[in-house]
């Protein structure tokens, strides 16, 4: 599947900003069955300094500074991405989850060092007895890993209500678990925390989701949004992505931008400004299918 993606972020500041530094992770990854061509980024006002590189997790990162007084910042990215269909091996044939967890307990083979990074607590995702308890309902003894993860995805989808007003980025997982409400970011964190509480490696994926207009209506331009889901490591299949907000496996309609331990590693646009005061942000995303 081929897409043209336009992501526009506009900040309007209440007070003038004298200097600002930003880190963005907006360029879709080119790996794991996904190719990205013609990525372009435009920034207004033009930065004094701009540097691109790969971050620790291999995501494309852009650092830029604006050193003139400004009260607006606009970042527009455009990219053409093609996503190959994912081969999803039968979940029932995946290894029992305990066997996978065992791989990541001492002594750990250096062959699995890469996924091993994602077993541990990270700043926004901490394992706990409660989360392990919630997870165990999907992972009874001997449950094949991917079957358990699919069931966990289904349960998060069923047990939790999508509610953009219920949480902020600072809401701790314990509270999400208690309120049973949140947004895609919370559900992705929840899934990751559950898996890590069982000793399984799981990571956070940020990206876009193609949306379908209601039957018979034209597609609305710019009405899409950033999205997030989680991914679990399975020794035979590699990383397998689950979307608990939509109760599905990530497929051709999920476009990966970046992955990391949690949201903090992949925040699409982060900035620290001198001045600025309160600000308003407008984000519009357009995922246009080209096929």
């Amino acid at each position: 599947m081929n897409y043209r993606i336009t992501h526009r972020t506009l900040y309007e500041y209440a007070a003038p900003v004298t200097v600002s530094h930003h880190v963005t992770r907006l360029e879709p990854r080119a790996a794991d069955g996904q190719a990205c061509a013609d990525f372009a980024m435009e920034i207004f006002p033009a930065p004094t300094l701009l540097q691109e590189r790969a971050d620790y997790f291999g995501n494309r990162l852009c650092f830029f500074s604006i050193q003139e007084v400004h009260s607006k910042l606009e970042i527009v990215t455009q990219s053409r991405v093609s996503v190959a269909p994912r081969e999803n091996s039968a979940a029932e044939n995946s290894p029992a989850w305990e066997r996978v967890a065992e791989l990541f307990r001492d002594p750990v083979s250096p062959e699995v060092v890469e996924p091993y990074e994602f077993v541990f607590d990270s700043p926004q995702v901490r394992a706990s007895f409660d989360l392990a308890g919630y997870a165990r309902e999907s992972f009874s003894e001997g449950t094949p890993l991917l079957a358990g993860a699919a069931d966990l995805t289904r349960r998060i989808f069923g047990d939790f209500k999508y509610d953009p007003k219920a949480t902020t980025v600072a809401t701790p997982l314990e509270e999400v678990l208690e309120k049973r409400r949140g947004v895609c970011q919370d559900f992705a964190h929840l899934g990751i925390a559950c898996l890590r509480s069982l000793g399984l490696p799981a990571r956070y994926v940020s990206g876009y989701l193609r949306t379908h207009p209601p039957e018979g209506q034209p597609r609305l331009v710019g009405a899409d949004a950033s999205h997030a889901w989680f991914s679990v490591f399975c020794p035979d299949a590699g990383w397998v992505d689950f979307d608990p907000t939509n109760n599905c496996l990530a497929g051709e309609e999920h476009i990966t931008v970046a992955h990391g331990r949690d949201f903090g590693d992949v925040s699409p646009v982060a900035g620290i400004l001198t001045g600025g005061g309160a600000h308003e942000v407008k984000v519009s995303v357009d995922v246009e299918p080209l096929d």
């Binding site: 902020t168 590693d265 620290i272 001045g275």
Partner: protein, 872 residues
């Protein structure tokens, strides 16, 4: 880790403290009998190593000189020296912040006068072990932040790195000059009963304490000058000189203009004293994150005169707090963009960002293997027996022996460690076991140690207390160098096993002695080097300018408050009808307007009751809880003085702290008499005069002094105008007694008498106090001084709303056109006089002037953040 590696590790763990051969048995009485004189009172703990006495109960040879010197002192002499030590600590303001202490944050540093003495040969072997250890830890850091060969070749468990919050991923792959991560390193050492030294903990993040060690040295060498000289004690200055020159070498710019700054989290940090002390000793500017800014990937200091490049940052801020953009984004202590500047090689951090990684105790069991792997040598200095529960075998061993060990978090974490001093009950043990099994990587277990003891001076004699020794290393061009000495920390109780300054421990100096006389070094001279002469001092960070300005304002506020209250108390006479209060009405109104006597004019009943009125005046002096009271103003002063600690002299600090002590004494215990209070006010005024005198005579005429003086002038103008305005409103304004009181408050009585032989008249008083530009206590004088300061300052910020200079010029012109003879007219005509209007206008203008100064020079640019979760 492979199983083979594991078994090796575990075997290395067991034979440590507990299993040392016991000392030759010797009962306490025999020991006691053997020691004479001073040491006779010293109870030895037979199971611990005694630093002073050998197993035979006789002083160890390297203590001979010190102990014989101490024996020669009489008890009163010893006590006197101890008292001197306490006084020196107090006067130098050596403090340590204790978190959560209701008595306030600052606690005087506890220093025992008797040093720990370390023999030359013992020190040489410690030195070799410490240098090896620092080199090793640095190599491990270089590997973890580089190609991670140690993980791939199974010498290091991946969890040791990846599970640690102190592994800072954004710093992975970032080169540091000479591969030096640890510019400073400290280790806590303890001595086991058999006399061997062990490392209890490694400090690689922010190795604190060297400044306290230096402060201890200055005090101890002063109270024990004879034994200090006779023992040939190694000096500490050479260590700091080497460290200083190594830091200067790191600067990316090598043009002699390189600037090193010390980054502090601020005055609330527990070791702020040490930061200010070291910054002053090493000649570095002490800055907070908000004083720095990143432009073009370079770090700059924001000064009143513009931006100045910074090359090296000696940090006292935890590394993950150093950049809210790439590290912890909730940090308010850091500098946005710093990591990118480091990555670009434009600034060097000491220690390198990320170096906290290897201070985790989880590394300890791996060090012997890593040492052989990386240095090809055996580890010389062992660590206290430590088991990291992330290893299978270690875990099961720990779980089997849980109650015997100190179990603590392996990494910096949210987990709360059990109190090591308290044995765990059954339920607590079960809970601990559950946690260890659930998240084993997060725990280590360590052997409980029997610390060695050293004698302290207590109740006129000596007593043995457990100690640990913190030692310090710095990376120099010739490898690591050890500071010959250290910070000895002393447990508050005889059986203590864990020592923390947070929990009331004391400290000692450590003397590394030499067989031969030692080289005298000092930081002050670098023989033969080219000395660059500097005279400007005009690079004051705007935050400090702000602090100096308020220091000036508060010192003058205290002065005015004390004067007004003193004159009011002296004139208040219960014998007279109404207590003579109508004649002090302008004073009371001024105190009300300035906040010392809030709402007093609305409480006529208070004015009728002499006792209640007097109590009100006393509260305005002593009540620390009353906003605006003299006591609370003195508190403010001291707090501000703390903020500019590295920029003011010890004398200024001392004067302010005495001021506070004086006002703090009588709060509850005394029923105060007005007479006592005037005495305190007199002393306060003398103290403030001393402060102002020191400021005038000892501060160079650079920006710090200017802002201090501007604050003082502005505050004085405010209270003068308030008082004059109240005087004009008073129906008794023409009463000479009232005018006398006004002259007394503004300290112009003598001047008046020398000019006029008559009783004071309104026009004459106003001419002197409002308009006489020769009278340093007149309003016009203050305004003229402010104008002079403005001339010397860099231009105000362009984006500041309203210029202070313009505000001031207008005010000055108005005053110059005014004539006090207007007030010769009858009283009721005053209200509409030009002069009254000028006084009112000036009073309204002054706060605007203060705002304009703040906007023009201090303007703290608020930091804001974007992009914390735009996803749906």
């Amino acid at each position: 880790m492979s199983d083979a590696d594991n078994s090796g590790k575990i075997r290395e763990q067991t034979p440590m403290f507990q299993s040392q051969t016991q000392l030759p048995s010797m009962d306490a009485a025999a020991v006691k009998g053997a020691a004479e004189g001073l040491l006779a009172s010293c109870q030895q703990n037979a199971s611990a190593f005694d630093e002073f006495l050998g197993v035979d109960g006789r002083p160890r040879p390297h203590y001979a000189k010190l102990l014989s010197a101490l024996e020669n002192f009489t008890a009163p002499e010893l006590r006197r020296r101890r008292d001197t030590s306490e006084r020196l600590v107090h006067e130098q303001g050596i403090t340590y912040h204790v978190y959560g202490d209701p008595r306030g944050v600052e606690r005087p540093w506890q220093l025992d006068p008797i040093p720990l003495v370390i023999a030359p040969e013992e020190w040489r072997s410690l030195e070799a072990g410490l240098i090896q250890r620092a080199t090793l830890l640095n190599k491990i850091l270089a590997d973890c932040y580089g190609n991670q060969e140690l993980i791939r070749s199974r010498w290091l468990s991946p969890a040791m790195v990846f599970a640690q919050p102190d592994f800072l991923r954004p710093l992975h792959g970032v080169k540091v000059p000479n591969d030096t991560f640890l510019h400073f390193y400290a280790a806590d050492l303890a001595r086991s009963p058999d006399g061997r030294w062990w490392v209890m903990s490694d400090r690689t993040q922010i190795p604190t304490g060297a400044g306290y060690a230096l402060a201890n040295r200055l005090v101890t060498s002063r109270i024990l000058p004879e034994p200090f000289r006779d023992n040939h004690v190694h000096r500490l200055a050479g260590f700091f000189r080497d460290a200083q020159s190594a830091l200067a070498q790191l600067a990316p710019r090598q043009a002699g203009t390189a600037r090193v700054v010390m980054l502090t989290p601020g005055p609330h940090n527990e070791t702020y004293f040490e930061q200010a002390y070291l910054a002053r000793y090493l000649g570095y500017m002490l800055v907070e994150g908000q004083d720095l800014t990143v432009r073009d990937n370079q770090v700059f200091l924001k000064t009143l005169s513009g931006l100045e490049r910074v090359d090296v940052i000696l940090r006292r801020v935890d590394d993950d707090f150093c950049d809210p953009l790439e590290l912890r984004n909730d940090s308010i202590l850091g500098v946005p963009g710093l990591v990118e500047a480091v990555r670009a090689g434009n600034v060097v951090m000491a220690n390198a960002l990320g170096s906290g990684l290897v201070q985790s105790p989880a590394f300890m069991p791996f060090l012997p293997g890593l040492c052989e792997r990386l240095l090809g040598e055996k580890l010389k200095l062992p660590s206290v027996a430590t088991w990291w529960c992330g290893q299978k075998d270690a875990r099961s061993y720990v779980l089997d022996h849980l109650g015997e060990f100190v179990v603590k978090p392996a990494f910096r974490s949210h987990l709360r460690a059990p109190d090591p001093e308290k044995p765990l009950n059954k339920a607590e043990l079960a809970e601990l076991k559950r946690h260890v099994e659930f998240d084993p990587d997060l725990f280590v277990a360590q052997e409980r140690v029997e610390l060695s003891t050293a004698s302290i001076f207590e109740n006129g004699g000596l007593a043995a207390r457990p100690i640990t020794l913190r030692v310090f290393l710095a990376a120099t061009e010739r490898g690591f160098r050890v500071m010959p000495g250290g910070l000895v920390r002393v447990s508050p109780d005889a059986g203590g096993k864990f020592i923390s300054m947070q929990h009331g421990g004391s400290s000692k100096d450590a003397w590394v002695i030499s067989e031969t006389p030692v080289e005298e070094v000092t930081l002050l001279h670098t023989a033969g080097a080219n000395v660059e002469l500097r005279r400007t001092g005009n690079n004051l960070p705007s935050r400090l300018a702000d602090n100096f300005f308020w220091l000036g304002r508060y010192s003058e506020r205290a002065d005015a408050t004390a004067r007004l209250l003193r004159s009011a108390l002296l004139r208040f006479n219960p014998e007279r009808a109404g207590g003579g209060r109508s004649l002090i009405a302008p004073l009371l109104q001024t105190l009300e307007a300035q906040g010392q006597l809030p709402g007093i004019s609305a409480k006529p009943e208070l004015l009728q009751n002499a006792e209640a009125f007097e109590a009100e005046l006393l509260a305005a002096i002593f009540d620390p809880a009353r906003t605006g009271s003299l006591h609370s103003t003195a508190d403010h002063l001291q707090r501000l003085a703390t903020q500019v600690r590295d920029r003011t002299s010890n004398d200024m600090w001392r004067v302010l702290s005495q001021l506070n002590d004086r006002l703090a004494t009588p709060t509850s215990s005394l029923v105060l008499l007005a007479g006592d209070a005037t005495g305190v006010l007199n002393e306060t005024l003398i103290g403030l005069a001393a402060f102002h005198g020191l400021a005038r005579e000892n501060m160079t005429r650079a920006q710090a002094w200017r802002f201090l003086d501007m604050g003082l002038r502005l505050e004085r103008a405010v209270y003068l105008c308030t008082l004059l305005e109240a005087t004009l409103r008073s129906p008794d304004a023409e009463n000479p007694s009232l005018l006398e009181a006004v002259l007394e408050v503004v300290d112009s009585r003598i001047t008046f008498r020398s000019r006029y032989t008559l009783l004071p008249s309104v026009p004459a008083v106003f001419d002197l106090v409002l308009l006489d530009d020769k009278n340093p206590r007149s309003v016009l004088f203050q305004i003229n001084q402010l104008a002079k300061h403005f001339e010397k300052l860099p231009p105000e910020r362009e984006d500041a709303p309203g210029s202070g200079k313009n505000v001031l010029a207008k005010c000055r012109a108005r005053l110059n056109q005014t004539d006090a003879r207007e007030l010769a007219a009858p009283h009721d005509a005053w209200r509409n006089s030009e002069l009254a209007a000028v006084v009112r206008e000036t009073l309204e203008t002054l706060p605007k002037l203060s705002d304009a100064i703040a906007a023009g020079y201090f303007a703290h640019s608020e930091i804001s953040r974007t992009g914390r979760g735009t996803e749906q």
